[in-house]
């Protein structure tokens, strides 16, 4: 069993689940958030792109946050949000294609690949004494 980080969504998972059953990762959709900036301009971006901003659910909440000492330019008001398919999503599940000896095993979507996460040393492992 190995642990991986998906390069498309940054999710982390083990490739083999309990009981030796393979786990097939599929990326979640991306959350698109449409906001009104302090300048009055409306903009829609993935949620992660609003890092550094506070997303207020209403103008009243924004006003309260500003009164509490927040910076108005860094507080946006949410207008709508919706899920959308993630660009370059990875889906490790198998496409079903018939072949001469059963099915041909093809991954649905490679996405941006995955990277192994190095295993941490076992804290319960014995440590050699230095003589």
């Amino acid at each position: 069993m190995s642990r991986f980080r998906c390069n498309s969504c940054q999710g982390e998972y083990d490739d083999v689940a309990a009981g030796g059953v393979l786990y097939f990762h599929a990326c979640p959709p991306v959350t698109l958030v449409r906001v009104r900036l302090d300048s009055g301009i409306e903009d829609e971006r993935p949620l992660r792109a609003w890092r550094g901003f506070t997303i207020a659910s209403s103008d009243a909440q924004k006003a309260a946050l500003v009164d509490a000492g927040g910076t108005a330019a860094l507080i946006v008001v949410e207008l709508a949000r919706a899920d959308a398919p993630r660009a370059g999503a990875r889906d490790e599940n198998t496409l079903r294609r018939g072949g001469a000896h059963g099915e041909i095993r093809v991954m649905k979507a490679e996405g941006r690949g995955r990277a192994p996460i190095p295993a941490l040393p076992d804290p319960a492992a014995p440590v050699d004494d230095v003589v």
């Binding site: 689940a17 097939f24 997303i55 198998t94």
Partner: protein, 278 residues
């Protein structure tokens, strides 16, 4: 001598011993579906060649795919009577209903082969055999499924939980637990658990409680569970519907007011899984 042994085999048939006459053009084809990483299926075959007095008893070994897709192997038969077949998982430790086989009598080779008769069909384990003649022809979605505890993907910050029913499987979610850590942004997060067909949501369920800023809450969902009236300490209950989810369907969170550094932990699911031997 050959004539005598032919008559001996014929005598056995006339005495009432069952069998299928094979001309030498037939083969046995085993098709398997398995989600186990190390399952091996062994066929035990009893075949009465027409030029021998005693039946030939031998084994054939078949390795299923590990991703629930079909794997098949063909084993040519000689000229004579096919008397009996048994099938068992001879290696690995496949749990019940997680390795499913079908054994057909075919004529021809590869994709152009003609299926003459289905002899065996059903789940096998290291202790559960299928036998011809004797075992009923069972569908892969009959009876109880395999109970599996699955650790899902730990999503990145600000990403929702999303678990997809794998290819070749059908899931009934019995229980689900996950945590949500909220950042300091003042907003009430409301978690909605949705079920969709890969695109379109067909069911959604919510807890009775919101989660405010700077909190860690564990959400627990169970089939037949009761939707709680309010948050209890760090635990929030969600009622799960009793649904069978086909392959490709998804179970996801959709979170109102989810903030940029809010973070879900990896979900842990208890599912009942059937193989969809398509």
């Amino acid at each position: 001598m050959i004539a005598e042994t032919k008559y001996a085999a014929l005598d056995a048939m006339l005495a009432g011993e069952l069998g299928i006459w094979c001309t030498g053009e037939e083969s046995l084809r085993i098709t398997s579906f398995s989600g186990d990483a190390d399952a091996v299926v062994t066929l035990g075959i009893r075949f009465q060649n027409d030029d021998r007095a005693n039946p030939n008893v031998y084994q054939e070994r078949h390795v299923p795919n590990t991703d629930r897709t079909a794997a098949s192997s063909d084993y040519p038969l000689g000229c004579g009577w096919l008397k009996a077949i048994t099938a068992i998982a001879s290696s690995g430790a496949p749990v019940y209903a997680h390795t499913f086989i079908r054994v057909d009598l075919i004529r021809g080779r590869g994709t152009s082969a003609t299926v003459l008769q289905t002899l065996l069909q059903g789940p096998v384990t290291a202790l559960t055999r299928r036998a011809w003649p004797g075992s009923p022809i069972a569908a892969s979605i009959e009876g109880p499924g395999t109970m599996r505890s699955i650790a899902g993907t730990n999503p990145a910050a600000n990403a929702e939980i999303s678990e997809t029913v794998p290819t070749g499987a059908r899931w009934r979610v019995h229980a689900l637990v996950f945590t949500l850590v909220t950042d300091a942004t003042a907003a009430n997060r409301e978690v909605v658990l949705t079920f969709d067909d890969g695109t379109t949501v067909y069911y959604a369920t919510t807890p009775a409680a919101n989660q405010a800023a700077s909190l860690t809450r564990r959400y627990g969902a169970a089939a037949g569970g009761v939707r709680g009236a309010a948050a209890t300490a760090a635990e929030i209950a969600i009622a799960l519907p009793d649904l069978w989810l086909p392959a490709g369907h998804r179970l996801q969170t959709v979170t109102t007011n989810l903030q940029v550094t809010d973070n879900y932990g990896a979900p842990q699911l208890l599912v009942e899984e059937h193989l969809e031997a398509a």
